[in-house]
């Protein structure tokens, strides 16, 4: 079982609060973080949750080129998938400062370039909304028992990061050694031509590379470093679940795997192209896309006994 803590939690929810009494703080933070991930009260008008852009059936990517925020300001970059994101650092397309999940929470929630969830300067409002909910008060108290257990913005971020760290995708046909001959042929090509950057267990070196001439609308890494050499550089994305995370690249301008491969300057004969795509599709972890322990919590009773 990939997620024993979450599985136990789900079992506990079915049995009621008594079964949850022995839960570790970590499991409690994951449970809290899951609820927060799907809660649109983290946005200005209550319309956007983390899950609004990070949809499970897209491996927690989006399916759009970019996604506007609550003020309708257009998104700047394609929404990345979150599979195995707990192993990644740095985390985002072109900001090397975003090295931890807890810190990165503030980019969509509080950020203004662009405005996504629109809560800049409104951390207190987030706390007010959540603390008004008796269930959240109980969940925070359980998840953070060492202090006063109150709702705070740093605890919101910490709980979200705890949940995101459980977004583990290791159940693809590739992981299970179930590659077809055609997929193996595609794997050989990937190893030969792509593994310089799409390296390692998650098919990313987590480094920044410039594949094409910089575009004025998005200069990538150099926006942060100020270095001319970093213009047009973006972090290598993972290829895990890549078949369900179209469109591709930082700008989402490549609608298909074929288009994305061609954008690398790579052009293959039809059999090789097909083999590559079969291999990439074999990186899709269907259980990750449907795992109920990672999905929107069902409505109903609070999973913990309410506290005043």
């Amino acid at each position: 079982m990939r997620l024993p803590a979450l599985a136990l939690l789900t079992f506990g929810l079915a049995l009621g609060t008594t079964a949850l009494a022995g839960h570790s703080d970590k499991a409690a933070r994951v449970e809290l973080g899951r609820r927060l991930f799907y809660d649109a009260d983290l946005s200005r008008d209550g319309t956007m949750a983390c899950a609004t852009c990070h949809e499970q059936f897209h491996a927690f990517a989006d399916g759009n080129r970019t996604h506007p925020g609550v003020t309708d300001e257009p998104g700047r970059r394609n929404v990345p998938g979150l599979g195995n994101v707990g192993r990644f650092s740095p985390l985002t397309w072109a900001d090397p400062r975003q090295t931890t999940l807890a810190d990165q929470v503030s980019v969509p929630v509080l950020g203004t370039h662009p405005v996504e969830m629109g809560m800049a300067g409104q951390q207190g409002e987030i706390v007010r909304r959540l603390a008004a909910n008796p269930c959240y008060r109980a969940l925070f108290a359980r998840a953070f028992p060492s202090g006063d257990g109150s709702v705070t913005y740093p605890r919101v971020a910490e709980a979200l990061s705890s949940f995101e760290a459980t977004l583990i995708s290791r159940g693809s046909p590739y992981d299970r050694g179930m590659l077809s001959d055609q997929a193996r042929a595609g794997q050989k090509i990937i190893r030969r031509d792509c593994a310089g950057c799409h390296a390692g267990r998650d098919f990313t070196d987590l480094r920044f590379h410039a594949l094409e001439a910089p575009q004025p609308r998005d200069l990538g890494l150099s926006e942060i470093t100020g270095k001319a050499a970093d213009k047009g550089a973006f972090r290598t994305p993972s290829l895990r679940n890549v078949a369900v995370t179209a469109p591709y690249f930082h700008d989402g301008a490549s609608p298909t795997l074929a288009a994305a491969i061609a954008r690398h300057g790579l052009h293959y004969a039809a059999p090789d192209q097909a083999a590559i795509e079969v291999f990439l599709t074999a990186l899709t972890d269907q259980s990750f896309l449907t795992n109920a322990a990672l999905s929107l919590p069902r409505p109903g009773a609070c999973p913990v006994t309410n506290r005043p």
Binding site: A40, T47, F57, G63, R65, D72, P74, A132, G252, P255
Partner: protein, 178 residues
């Protein structure tokens, strides 16, 4: 009112192919509202959009307000915590958002387009559960139609759920497509 082929083609320009989500398709950008200097009245099947009748959303399936095909409605929504949806929306909205429950009677099988003035989440629930959308997109620019979702519906009773709306009102039009 029927839609001419030309009008239909124009209104479908931004509609994506069948999908399981409403918010976008691979290779299509989730639309942001364009900058408009003046409203543009939609035409064809969407023409009733310009003259909505007031309606108050229901708080649950038993109190659903009736949506009439071909008649736009300016709907007063409820605070999300006051709404009990017959089916949990995929995007339920936060406590400060708004939503509500409506009803729709379909007499003739066909494709029905539901136009919304916002990017609210929309569910159409029939006797056999949530209906899968067959296309979606945004409306004519500057018409005030932010989002359109098409459903292939059989005759019967449907519950229309609007959730995760920022404002406390929303305009909705159900239009039968030819």
């Amino acid at each position: 009112m029927r839609l001419s082929l030309t009008q239909l083609a124009a209104s479908c320009l931004m509609l994506a192919a069948p999908l399981c989500a409403q918010e976008g398709a691979p290779s299509s950008s989730m639309p942001a509202a364009p900058a408009c200097t003046a409203p543009v009245a939609p035409t064809g099947a969407l023409a009733p959009w310009a003259s909505p009748a007031p309606l108050t959303a229901g708080a649950d399936g038993a109190h659903a307000a009736l949506l009439k095909t071909g008649q736009a409605a300016q709907i007063a929504l409820l605070p999300t915590p006051s709404v009990t949806y017959p089916l949990q929306p995929e995007k339920p909205g936060g406590s400060v958002s708004h939503g509500g429950v409506m009803a729709l009677e379909v007499a003739k099988a066909g494709t029905y387009r539901i136009a919304l003035s916002s990017g609210a989440w929309l569910d159409v629930v029939g006797a056999d559960g949530a209906q899968r959308s067959v296309a979606h997109g945004h409306g004519p620019e500057c018409s005030g139609i932010r989002k359109m979702v098409d459903f292939a519906l059989k005759p019967g009773h449907y519950t229309v759920q609007v959730s995760a709306n920022g404002a406390d009102t929303i305009r909705v039009l159900v239009a039968a497509l030819p």
